[in-house]
């Protein structure tokens, strides 16, 4: 596997999380409100969103030199 720099690694992670967020968002938009799978998809979406926030927070701290 290609060795990634710290910046590349964050970029790749954000890319992958963006895909999880985007597709789960699409599913949520297209699902019926009473679909029994909705809570599961919401869990995926929420977790991916939180992970994205963490990556961004980490990137920001690194740029600030903290």
């Amino acid at each position: 596997m290609t060795k990634l720099s710290s910046g590349d690694w964050k970029h790749e992670l954000k890319n992958q999380l963006g895909i999880v967020l985007g597709f789960s968002e699409l599913l949520l938009q297209e699902m019926q409100h009473d679909d029994p799978r909705r809570p599961d998809v919401e869990e995926i979406h929420t977790a991916a969103g939180r992970a994205m926030e963490l990556v961004k927070e980490r990137s920001f701290n690194a740029e600030e030199g903290r």
């Binding site: 963006g18 895909i19 985007g22 699409l26 938009q29 979406h45 929420t46 969103g49």
Partner: protein, 286 residues
């Protein structure tokens, strides 16, 4: 967290999707450029749902081909893909001017060789490699009548030609990944005595990476046949570079290293039927 309160996409895609054509009543032809299949398919899903016609491209060359063939209303691309498109565009510009065939590849090679010899770090060497390809990207905005003119340019035409440095700088401007390359694109025609363009920078204000590209650019231009003059030998091109040092245009030490490199290791000699003689200069190897 409410999924409906959040934007459809997080990260870079969010910015891209916000530029998409409006969903209602105005279906557009949209080209999506992304080397990540899942990203491309995600955007395709959204755009198709909104009634748009969607084409996908995985890299810069494919994107340029589709732009030429399908003439999309909007192009959506992530910034990394934009760099790929710019690189492909640079090669397209080179192809547009058949007299400069292979110029970008040679420049990238020679510039990295010179930068290595000067002890430059990996970031600068990376900038030189990409700068070799992208330094003249702004020529995309120069009319054929000027770019391909087989005789010397008039002062007005030369003024138009000079604009390629500013156009190129603007094209690279939004790409964070090209921040190290921008000084090359903008300043590779500066001279140390302040008589270069576009900013008339003097001395150390001229970025070293731009000076390196400037030297190898002139060398390559002089040793390659152009419609407005015959090529000269590498040895004569080195003499010309030395003369430019005496005029105060270039750094003597840098040129010495290049000349040594050229003589000892033998940079690619591309002049074809090279012959000694005076170079008819058109600016500084534009």
């Amino acid at each position: 967290m409410s999924s409906h309160a959040s934007p459809l996409f997080s990260g870079d895609l969010a910015a891209l999707i916000s530029d998409a054509p409006p969903a209602s009543g105005s279906a557009g032809k949209v080209l999506v450029v992304d080397d990540l299949d899942a990203n491309a398919r995600l955007l395709e899903r959204v755009l198709l749902r909104d009634g748009h016609i969607v084409k996908l491209a995985r890299d810069g060359q494919e994107a340029l081909d589709l732009v030429a063939h399908d003439q999309p209303d909007v192009v959506l691309m992530e910034l990394d893909s934009a760099e790929s498109v710019l690189l492909s565009l640079a090669l397209t510009i080179e192809a547009r001017d058949t007299t400069t065939d292979g110029h970008c590849q040679r420049l990238a090679h020679d510039a990295v060789s010179l930068g290595t010899e000067l002890g430059m770090g990996s970031e600068d060497l990376g900038a030189l490699a990409r700068g070799g390809f992208l330094h003249d990207i702004g020529k995309v905005g120069i009319p054929d009548a000027v770019l391909l003119k087989p005789s010397r340019l008039t002062p007005a035409e030369f003024s138009v030609m000079k604009g390629h440095t500013l156009i190129g700088d603007r094209l690279c401007g939004e790409l964070r990944s090209l921040r190290c390359v921008r000084p090359i694109v903008r300043h590779h025609h500066e001279r140390l005595d302040g008589t270069g363009y576009p900013d008339g920078l003097r001395g150390r204000a001229v970025p070293l990476v731009a000076q390196v590209i400037g030297v190898v650019d002139v060398f390559d231009a002089l040793t390659t046949a152009r419609p407005y003059r015959t090529p000269i030998s590498p040895a004569c091109a080195c003499e010309e570079l030395m003369r430019e040092c005496e005029l105060g245009w270039r750094d003597r030490e840098l040129v010495d290293v290049f000349v040594n490199l050229s003589q000892n290791r033998g940079l690619p000699q591309v002049g074809g039927a090279a012959q000694a003689g005076l170079a008819v200069r058109r600016g500084a190897a534009s």
